[in-house]
């Protein structure tokens, strides 16, 4: 009988059994996850080190404020909360898949694994949209005294401090006609095409710019992009491999491999990996989006 008393009476280290009361594969999955935790931890801690060594760091609410289909609306934290809930829910469906496996319920395993895969793919799609939006979405940024339109890449960061007053006027005077035409186009919408604006003289363009409404930032810490894409990319890669593993598990379940084997321990191991991916996201979410 499995009681706490047996746990205490058993001589765990006398040999012939696992001193951890766990089978080999699962134990090794735990140790792998522990080493993976240190890999992620090292990445996040090095990000923290760089952040603490800077006087200024971009405000995540200014960087991550977009939502698919919402245009330029300022919605901080909205999209990333969707991503977070997708992962939490897919973690729950994985727990249910593992439990169905315990009961030898093949149909249950297939159903919940399939939902977990759907959740994983949904998360990856969200991440793809977010990356695409950050890389391609250009922002008026003060670089080397001139205003340039740049996206968030690993080489440049458009999220520095806001430029005001005289500095802004000087920057506008130094900027190219192309940059100015784009500012006017963004501010005045569709009254004139960018090609038409490009034909105008520079001082006329400068005159058309509403400086009170203009948000120009200095270029921020370059390290931001590398850390963001590096760490969320590494996490996304884990999600991707988790989805692949789950798909393999789904196919094996469907073919009755685990049924013949008599147990669904493989589902448990895949489950551990999937929960770990969720666990890492909790920390990525904290470090990049919340603080």
């Amino acid at each position: 009988m499995a009681t706490t008393a047996t746990a205490q009476q058993t001589k765990w280290w006398s040999g012939g059994k696992s001193p951890f009361n766990i089978e080999y594969g699962k134990l090794m999955m735990w140790y792998f996850l522990m080493s993976d935790a240190f890999t992620f931890g090292a990445f996040l801690i090095s990000y923290g080190t760089i952040r603490f060594s800077q006087n200024f760091w971009p405000d995540p609410n200014a960087v991550f404020n977009a939502f698919p289909g919402a245009g330029h609306a300022n919605l901080p934290l909205a999209f990333v909360s969707v991503m977070t809930f997708i992962l939490i829910i897919s973690s729950v469906t994985m727990v249910l898949a593992v439990h169905a496996g315990h009961n030898g319920d093949k149909k249950g395993v297939i159903k919940w694994l399939a939902w977990t895969i759907v959740g994983g793919i949904a998360f990856l799609s969200c991440q793809a949209w977010e990356w695409h939006h950050l890389i391609t979405g250009a922002h008026a940024t003060l670089i080397d005294g001139k205003i340039e339109w740049v996206g968030q890449t690993t080489r440049v960061n458009p999220w520095g401090q806001l430029v005001h007053g005289e500095a802004l006027t000087t920057a506008l005077n130094n900027s190219t006609v192309e940059s100015l035409a784009r500012i006017v186009h963004e501010q005045h919408g569709n009254t004139m095409t960018e090609a038409q604006l490009l034909g105008l003289p520079k001082d006329q363009l400068t005159g058309m710019i509403n400086t009170a409404e203009l948000h120009v930032r200095q270029n921020g810490p370059v390290a931001f992009g590398g850390y963001f894409y590096g760490i969320t990319g590494f996490h996304g890669f884990h999600v991707f491999s988790g989805v692949v593993i789950n798909i393999i598990m789904l196919i094996m379940t469907q073919k009755g491999v685990f049924e013949r084997r008599g147990h669904y321990l493989m589902i448990e191991k895949a489950g551990l990996y999937w929960h770990f991916v969720d666990l890492v996201w909790v920390f990525v979410f904290l470090c990049f989006y919340l603080i």
Binding site: A2, W12, K17, E23, I45, G48, T49, N61, L265
Partner: protein, 151 residues
């Protein structure tokens, strides 16, 4: 009799009834969601403080500390309930948790190192300090020459 004879290495199996299990999963799911919602609310509070006229740095830091603690709570529930580490025997729990203690040193040492580097630069590299320190009360701000290429 035996649910599953999974492996001869396992001395005794941990059995949970379906009702007990679904109650536990439901409770943990709600808990994780509620903690996440609280975290998001705090995130929005921090955003509002930042937008305000005079952001209180210590208040922001306090809220960030709360979010960190909530995140650790979430991590505990994921590992203990979803990954079933809480149901394993003590030997197993210790072989995972004890090595992770290294993180306490890891985080502290490197964060403090980064902070010290910033302080040293602010003390000995006035250019770094002047060009990167955030300026509030923007209307009064003196026009600075834009500094190129400073990271």
């Amino acid at each position: 009799m035996e649910h599953q004879s999974a492996s001869s290495e396992i001395t005794f199996q941990h059995h949970v009834s379906d009702a007990e299990f679904s109650k536990k999963v439901k409770r943990t799911t709600i808990l994780l969601s509620v903690i996440t919602v609280i975290e998001l609310a705090i995130g929005l509070i921090i955003y509002t403080i930042h937008k305000g006229p005079d952001p209180n740095a210590y208040l922001v830091l306090a809220f960030k500390g709360v979010v960190c603690i909530l995140t650790l709570a979430k991590a505990y529930y994921i590992v203990s309930v979803f990954m079933h580490l809480g149901d394993e025997i003590r030997n197993m729990i210790m072989t995972i948790v004890v090595p992770l203690m290294l993180f306490i040193w890891f985080i502290l040492a490197f964060i403090i190192d980064g902070n010290s580097y910033k302080n040293l630069r602010n003390t000995y590299d006035k250019h770094f300090q002047e060009t990167t320190t955030p300026v509030h009360h923007v209307e009064e701000k003196k026009a600075e020459e834009p500094k190129p290429g400073k990271q």
